[in-house]
Symmetry: C2
Subunit: 341 residues, 2 copies
Amino acid sequence: MSNIINRQITLASRPVGEPKDENFKLVESPVGKPADGEVLLHTLYLSLDPYMRGRMSDAKSYAQPVPIGGVMEGGTVSEVIISRHPDFMPGDFVAGYSGWQSYAIVKGSTLTKIDSASAPISTALGVLGMPGMTAYTGLLNIGQPKSGETVVVAAASGAVGGIVGQIAKIKGCRVIGIAGGKHKCDYVVKELGFDACLDHKDKNLAEQLKSACPKGIDVYFENVGGAVFEAVFPLLNDFARIPVCGLISNYNDTALPDGPNMVPLLMRAILTKRLLFQGFIVSDFASQRMDFIKDVSQWIREGKVKYREDIVDGLENAPKAFQGLLRGENFGKLLVRVGSK
Amino acid sequence: MSNIINRQITLASRPVGEPKDENFKLVESPVGKPADGEVLLHTLYLSLDPYMRGRMSDAKSYAQPVPIGGVMEGGTVSEVIISRHPDFMPGDFVAGYSGWQSYAIVKGSTLTKIDSASAPISTALGVLGMPGMTAYTGLLNIGQPKSGETVVVAAASGAVGGIVGQIAKIKGCRVIGIAGGKHKCDYVVKELGFDACLDHKDKNLAEQLKSACPKGIDVYFENVGGAVFEAVFPLLNDFARIPVCGLISNYNDTALPDGPNMVPLLMRAILTKRLLFQGFIVSDFASQRMDFIKDVSQWIREGKVKYREDIVDGLENAPKAFQGLLRGENFGKLLVRVGSK
């Protein structure tokens, strides 16, 4: 197999503000051979997700940053080419974390086999993967939506937000989405079945949100931050729950916004309205994986949960696609088709 | 009984910043007669608590403000003078919400009888009353302290903070108090048994707190805000819990502090460290009252929970004492002795 050339996208330098082309580097090198317990994988799909912006930075976070010169991290769906692990055979499809590269040698113990008969293999990176489980666990454990409550979901056409809103509908809530542009908003209402969807590019978002939430907001699933949070904040009801899942509007920030410092106002609202803010990442709820797969698979079969993929062809296009993701240019779960079966 | 003169302290005007003498007015009027189901009470103790600053303001909060000209609200321990309610007899001691006045006619259904044999009647306003229950319910339900964790308590010599820290010690935690001045800090360590207590008037509070919390902070019981919160914030561990009970350092603020706006930094920490911030008021946990009374009474008997009262004589001195409370001048649970048995 030594004649196979691996293509990798590495972190060339840490971005300041928006990631740029020069922060990434495409390198080629021969593929090695798997040792005992390892498998050689050919990447079919690479998932691009907002959290990767954090991995490019060396600011303290819940995970180590990608080192300079290291392969960019990322979830993948791959085909097994050579297996030296008893659980896998050539031709198997697996979900793992091969990163931004066309081949990878990994320990078999880090992989999950995908049943390609029950759903398209790409869903293991979306609705039935990390984004779907993020939506499911964050909404149900922290948001705790109750029938009749109002749930607001930012980035509502995205990989996480779309699932959050559909699960909230299943739970009997009034669900208001916020998305970028009329096209996405139409999709969120007509395809995903949200009660309404507002365009965050409109200048009067705060007023529109107030009209759309006449009984206030009981759950705000936060994956955006910034101006959307500011529109939501005054509408939060007593005992509102705010699962803090992401803050994509801040990921490229290089400085804090000008004052005044609103922290005392936020804390006062937490106190007087008895709000709950809780941050989480999907691995905090790892033990709920089987419940997630069972419930969401069933909801997909019943037509209650729909999803949309935005597929870019070619590993070399991953940096541009990722830059677009941070600007909200994708429409649905963003994937890179790296290889084909 | 019409020859009894009631003395009342009313809200003369809404304070801007610190409450001043002219915001209060002492008025006298004859006491009326209780109707069927009502009792006439003679106030023995009036509780002064930081939340009363909120009642003086007409900013939106969880409770209605005191109207201009209305009697200031407050928890009281009183003696029944005349009863037209079957549950009460003259001479009974009761806890209620008579407010800042020497006599009151109230519905019997709003009162709780006090067993004066089991504890001093004033404790119904402190360790066995609202402040004690605030400490107990907020710490145990939201803070959820686990043995070996580090708990930080602001206003540690106060009516709530002192109980929070002692319960955290009972739960096996390392407990660091923050209080104003050496005298209070000594009391917190030597009498209440905290592991350490820092003086928030020291300029290097942040450094001292870091030294006192070598393993970071798992629970921060927030009843102060401002500079103390800023010292705590960088030390919060992953999965730290912050029950938000009060923000006394902000209660007299007339404007937000100058920027930058730190909200994005706070939200980023909530996300990456998976913090939990939750506001509460004691009535949110009303159903836990019997557990609270049972547990804390036992801890007092066992010498595991101690308390201190700071008693001011005379209703006419309540406004000054309340102003001092907001400046941290009291030392222990602040009470006004309004009448004597």
